[in-house]
Amino acid sequence: MHSTGMRRRVGAVATVSAVAAMSLAACSPSGEGAETVVRIANPITDFWGDPLQEAAAVYEEQNDGIRIEIDSVPYDSYEEVLQTQLVGETAADILFLEPPAVANFSGRDFLLALDDELSPTTEWGETFVSGMLDATRSPDGRQYVVPWSSVAVLIAYRQSEFSAVGSNEAPVTFSEWIDVMNRLESEPAPLNVSLRGDDASLFWILTNKLEATLRPLTEDINLLHADDWAYDPDDLASTLGETYTTDELYVAFETGLIDPAQSPGYRAAVEQVVQLSPFINEDSATVQPADVAQRFGAGEIPQLIGVGGTIAEVGAEAADSEDIATFNLPTITQDDFPGLAAGGENPLAGPRNGFAVNAASEVQAEALDFLRFLTQPDTVSDMYRVQVQGDPSAVDGVAYPDDSVLQETDGQEFAQISPYGFGAPPTFDTQDTDEFHAQWQSLLTGNSSVDEFLEDRSASNRAALERNLVLEEDSIDQSFIDEQLGQ
């Protein structure tokens, strides 16, 4: 009896093991005749889901034995999910990433460095819009991202409502915008925003201003530059090959150049944005970004700050879509801040995004080959025809559909190197970003003063830079830091 039971158990274990072994063999990419699977993690399913599927189908047709699998991950929890998968070594081979995530993951060696494949002088590097590679470089100075698009941040508005208060042309400067809002009906609030952590509409305004007010300091911050480098804000090529590294940023912070508590440019940018507080909706701390977009679409509010994609979508669905037009984020001027010596705000200083390759991927070569295919101008042009898009491509020579909102979008006007990753909020890592959201909410809802905000930002920025120094200790030039800080 005992031995029969034992034999049954052994038999059962053997059967399960055999089935498991066969299943694993069937899944293995190295098996004879088996296909190689390249997985892509994509959180932007509403805009890039279908176009990506179609591009993948074309690629699979051209490449026998390769299958492109797209993992759709909800945007809201994307970074947390991805981080968990990266730590557990189960993440996809290709990862769609936005700035804070690139800095977060590259600092922890989760991403493959692509400097050899993607320098501006390589064939692949020449595929991209000028300056895009430098603009997407990480704080350690390396290239991890295959640029995909620049997020265009715009303001959509109803022309009739602006005209009714005597504003027949869209505001260009921040003062003009405030003037319009003073004249717009106060109920509902003329500027509806969501100040929840997951909405970017309002902090982009601050980031844009900071890029402008800190731009005159470019040469003072970028101390570890090429020998013959010289900066010219009016020459977009003058920042090619240059980036702010963590050691430079740390020195710039400690010497007060970019320390929120000490920098006059930082204060000027914050003081300007705080002027928006009286015009902001009462429920700004709790309302969802999608609800704000819906209010605009339904005609309840006169204007909407948003990314091009959202604006294109909401505008197309609105009953009075002909009345809707867009304008760029209104700029700070020298009248507002005399130190603005290197141009105003760049309209397209919003975040860039792109694809990175998982450093633990076993199919890195195949992943890179697919990304080369994906960033060909013809492929991108085809993808833009699949669905309305609001963000301009990072790839040069893309033909946009005739009805695209992108035709109206201005490009970058002034050369700049961003102190804050590449278009992220003014922060240096994910924790800093989280703290920023809380401080930002508090400031704009009148629960803290500009001085308190700047002090809090200063403490958070310093802590984040110190964390980055630890993460990037292999590439940090400590002697440079000591020399600059006189230690």
Partner: protein, 280 residues
């Protein structure tokens, strides 16, 4: 027979617990940083300005949860128990279980609409003439915890209610008869007969409510994300953020260890309380 269960506990409960404790002495980011830092995480934990407010918040949420998990469920069970109609009793047993079939997250999302500035809660307050109470329940740091407590009103936990009901129905009918002959008031029956009959359930459900409340953060995560400006953070959310948003697994483990210690103390206290109840 016990071996598989013990193995399961060892692999999925004991090992993560011990490893979490071990890793709480490390600066560990899940990637390229994994270094022993001794008590640094614990020193930071006790100096972190976010920790104490998070425990204060969870204290109020726990008090509220205990009251509704035990108090409201018991009151509902007591009312059902004293219904004369057996059919009505049966119907109410089903009714109290209805909220349990709504997925928790869906419930939170519905309540986020109820508590919005132009949501049902403010409209009801307006209709009742209590305009002075109208406000931004989840967006005002002074009332966000009250807003979180309001979630789930009338807070009826069907399972707990049925457990109390089972306890009340175990009281023999003869005892009620004897109490009536002794001219005991309804309050005396409740105080000396019914509450002692369900006291073990009360202690167990109370302790479970405390443990559940200390561990949970999903209500806060979905409804406020810890905001506005970190005013509704709870320890579980701090742990989650440090581990899965900031990649500070070592520090998150230290928060986890602190939570385990707090929960263990409460469990021990509950056990001692239970023994006291048995002795009586």
């Amino acid at each position: 027979m016990l071996t598989p269960a013990l193995a399961f506990v060892a692999v999925f409960i004991a090992y993560p617990l011990l490893r979490g404790f071990y890793k709480s002495f490390f600066d560990y980011n899940g990637g390229n940083v994994d270094r022993f830092v001794g008590m640094k995480n614990y020193i930071e934990l006790f100096n972190d300005p976010a920790v104490l407010p998070s425990f204060v918040n969870v204290f109020w949420l726990t008090v509220a949860l205990m009251l509704n998990q035990v108090g409201v469920a018991f009151i509902a069970a007591w009312l059902i128990h004293h219904l004369r109609s057996a059919r009505l009793q049966y119907a109410f047993r089903i009714v109290v279980m209805v909220p349990a079939v709504v997925p928790t997250i869906v419930g939170f999302l519905i309540w986020s609409q109820f508590l919005s500035v132009d949501g049902a809660v403010n409209r009801i307050l307006g209709a009742l003439g209590a305009e002075w109470l109208i406000g931004n329940w989840l967006g005002d740091p002074d009332r966000v915890i009250i807003g979180l407590i309001l979630v789930g009103l009338p807070w009826l936990n069907g399972i707990n209610c049925l457990l109390f009901l089972a306890g009340l129905e175990n009281i023999p009918g003869e005892r009620y008869e004897a109490a009536r002959l002794d001219r005991a008031s309804r309050w005396q029956i409740l105080r000396y007969m019914e509450i002692p009959a369900v006291l073990p359930q009360m202690i167990v459900l109370g302790v479970l409510a405390v443990v559940l409340s200390l561990q949970s953060y999903e209500n806060v995560y979905v409804l406020t994300g810890g905001g506005p400006f970190d005013s509704s953070n709870v320890p579980g959310l701090l742990l989650f953020k440090n581990a899965f948003t900031y990649g500070r697994f070592g520090y998150a483990n230290a928060i986890g260890v602190l939570l385990v210690v707090v929960i263990a103390v409460i469990l021990l206290a509950g056990r001692m309380l239970g023994r006291g109840g048995e002795d009586r």
